[in-house]
């Protein structure tokens, strides 16, 4: 008789460990025998994660598209374009065409040295370019060395135009990757001479540009050389001023204002004239786009949280249903010796296992889908949709944890129910 009650002391040792092989076998067996229930629960979890990953990826793709508008330009630049005046001023008539010259560059440099990182003019001309039997029309851009940074030009071989080229008005050219491909095929262009509008230029460098094919079909030459070719004038088409990044947005806006006033005064343009000189401040555009980007980020976050919530609610529903469906089984198990802890443990282990496996499958499927989509939706402003691995894993873990909590609450309730009631209700 004494042995009968010895079990009281060893009650704790009779709990079946979560790591017991037997318990896992029992779990796999139960899952296998209830394929529909298992697959439906798993499917809802996998679908939740899949939708989350794809939507989040699309959101990031949308953001990428906006950011790409600036990928090939520096964001600390102010472009000045000459135009026509609209009002008469100081004896000058209206409709006067403003012309930028080299002294504009010098004056800006001298007056705003505190604000400026570098300055470059730009003179663009369409020209027929030949090499041996190959020829094509390309745009030549006559620039100063600073232009390389303004356009984020990446020199892959040789070099870019330098100060010595400007000073000596050399007939050197740095050509785009596609110009080299068109004219030279697979041979290197470096060191070869090309005919640019009837004048021989030596290729001193080849570049690539993330701005796309058009950007890689350009030819850069020293702006002083272009001026010499064009009857030794000193005109420039545009001026690009790169301000120091530390000025920040407010500083850039103040600098733009000062620069505008200075140039208008210099070229005798009425302060109230909306024409004459046009200024494009990339910092301002970048700021606006960044604001749109931030809104997009919130939209993506909202979609993400919404999808996760929907997933969590879905799993909770399924878990409540699964436990309800198993009430009688749980009652039988309790009647023949299952402890409340083992009942809770069994349901939790099953729910965590299903959500973890299905969540991982959804994650892989989602990432795979994003990879397959790649850049095919660029026309819809979705470029390179992706999801950060940590975000994806984090979302899966959240879903697994909430799946466990969703399973725990009804499991706890089921474990507390008296076996006789569970058997009666089942």
């Amino acid at each position: 008789m004494a042995s009968l009650w010895r079990i009281k002391k060893s009650a704790k040792s009779k709990q079946i460990s979560m790591w017991s092989r037997d318990r896992w076998q029992e779990m796999f067996y139960t899952l296998q025998k209830n394929k529909l229930r298992t697959s439906l629960s798993g499917f809802s979890v996998a679908l939740g994660i899949f939708i989350f990953v794809v939507l989040f990826g699309f959101g990031n793709g949308l953001k990428n598209s906006f950011e790409q508008f600036f990928v090939d330009d520096s964001t600390n630049s102010i472009w000045l374009y000459p135009g026509q005046t609209e009002k008469p001023y100081r004896g000058y008539k209206a409709k006067r065409r403003i012309i930028f010259k080299n002294d504009d560059l010098t004056d800006i440099k001298q007056n705003f040295s505190f604000f400026i990182d570098y300055i470059t003019p730009r003179i663009s001309r369409g020209t027929l370019v030949k090499y041996e039997m190959e020829s094509n029309n390309y745009t030549t851009r006559a620039v100063a060395p600073g232009h390389q940074f303004a356009e984020k030009t990446i020199v892959t071989s040789g070099r870019y135009i330098n100060e010595r080229d400007i000073k000596e008005k050399t007939k050197y050219a740095t050509i785009g990757r596609l110009v080299e491909k068109d004219l030279f095929g697979n041979k290197p262009a470096l060191g070869k001479n090309i005919n640019v509008g009837g004048i021989s230029f030596k290729v001193i460098g080849v570049f690539k540009d993330s701005g796309g094919d058009n950007e890689e079909r350009l030819i850069y030459i020293p702006y002083t050389t272009r001026q010499q070719i064009e009857k030794s004038n000193d005109r420039v088409d545009q001026i690009m001023v790169a301000f120091k990044p530390e000025l920040g947005y407010a500083g850039a806006m103040a600098f733009e204002k000062k620069l505008n006033t200075f140039m208008r005064k210099k070229h005798n343009i009425a302060p109230s004239d909306s024409g004459g000189i046009y200024i494009r401040n990339v910092a301002n555009e970048f700021r606006q786009t960044q604001n749109i980007g931030s809104v997009l980020q919130y939209v993506v976050l909202f979609i993400g949280i919404g999808t996760l919530l929907a997933g969590i609610i879905g799993i909770s529903n399924i878990m409540v249903f699964v436990v309800k469906e198993r009430t009688k089984e749980l009652g039988i198990r309790k009647a023949i010796g299952a402890t409340p802890k083992s009942i809770v443990g069994m349901i939790l282990q099953e729910s965590v296992f299903i959500t973890a496996i299905a969540g991982y499958a959804g994650l892989v499927a989602g990432i795979g889908t994003l990879a397959l989509i790649g850049d095919s939706l660029e026309d819809y402003f979705i470029s390179n949709p992706y999801i950060d691995t940590n975000e994806a894993i984090g979302a899966t873990v959240i879903l697994v944890v909430f799946g466990a909590i969703a399973g725990y609450i009804p499991a706890q309730r089921a474990a507390k129910i008296k076996p006789i009631i569970a058997l009666r209700d089942g």
């Binding site: 008789m1 009968l4 009650w5 079990i7 009281k8 009650a11 009779k14 079946i16 017991s20 037997d22 076998q25 029992e26 067996y29 139960t30 025998k33 209830n34 009688k328 089984e329 009652g331 039988i332 198990r333 309790k334 009647a335 023949i336 010796g337 299952a338 402890t339 409340p340 802890k341 083992s342 474990a415 507390k416 008296k418 076996p419 006789i420 058997l423």
Partner: protein, 234 residues
């Protein structure tokens, strides 16, 4: 083996209270086969549930194998049930997605017995109830009598001290009911203590003793041999 003193059980239904057991006193010795009889609502199933630790009494004492069963938490009750009591229900209560063998193996799983041992013991118990060849069948492939035999095998597999059966023949035809009672008698002859709740007199007569309940109290407690002798005298 079992000692019950002044056992009371009541249920609250809304504002009113339903007294199901109103002071039950009786003892069951080891090796007895006792039928608890009574009409519907007499309290016989409630009494069996309290004896099986599936329910708790409001008042009174219940002693099992010399130990007073009192203030048991769910975990201890589950372990005691597993080790010392076997249950047979009217509606069989087999797990539908498990085979007969797996149903019988289940109580041993909660005793942390190895899968191999569980299979061996369960197979033997199924053979003992005449269902060896049916081990791999699921409950829906078995007749009512076969299901109840599986339930008996499951109740016995953990070698309990007492077997509690709640209307074990309630869902069976007469022929199958007698066959099942024969089986229960054999189990009793092998030394097992049995308590069977039934409302059928011919089933109760196959036990050694009948305890008659009416409105929550024991109105008669006699040995079957004594009842039969009285009938003969009359």
């Amino acid at each position: 083996m079992i000692e019950i003193k002044e056992l009371h059980k009541s249920y609250s239904i809304g504002k009113s209270t339903l007294n199901v057991l109103k002071g039950i006193n009786f003892n069951v010795a080891e090796g007895e086969m006792v039928a608890i009889m009574g009409s519907s609502g007499s309290g016989k199933s409630t009494l069996l549930n309290i004896l099986g630790m599936l329910d708790v009494a409001n008042k009174g004492t219940y002693t099992l194998d010399g130990k007073v069963i009192k203030d048991l938490d769910e975990t201890k009750a589950a372990i005691y049930r597993n080790k010392f009591l076997g249950f047979v229900f009217q509606s069989f209560n087999l797990i539908s997605y498990k085979t007969a063998l797996e149903n019988v193996m289940l109580p041993l799983y909660y005793q942390k017995i190895s899968r191999k041992e569980r299979q061996k013991s369960a197979q033997k118990n199924l053979e003992d109830v005449g269902l060896g060849p049916w081990a791999s069948h699921h409950p829906n492939e078995l007749s009512g009598g076969q299901k109840q035999r599986v339930a008996i095998a499951r109740a016995l597999v953990s070698k309990p001290k007492v077997l509690l059966a709640d209307e074990p023949t309630g869902a069976l035809d007469s022929k199958t009911s007698y066959e099942l009672m024969d089986l229960l008698q054999k189990i009793n002859h092998a030394g097992k203590t049995l308590l069977i709740v039934t409302h059928e007199l011919d089933i109760a007569n196959m036990c050694k003793r009948i305890v008659h309940l009416r409105d929550g109290i024991i109105v008669e407690d006699k040995k079957v041999s004594q009842i039969k002798a009285n009938q003969y005298v009359e």
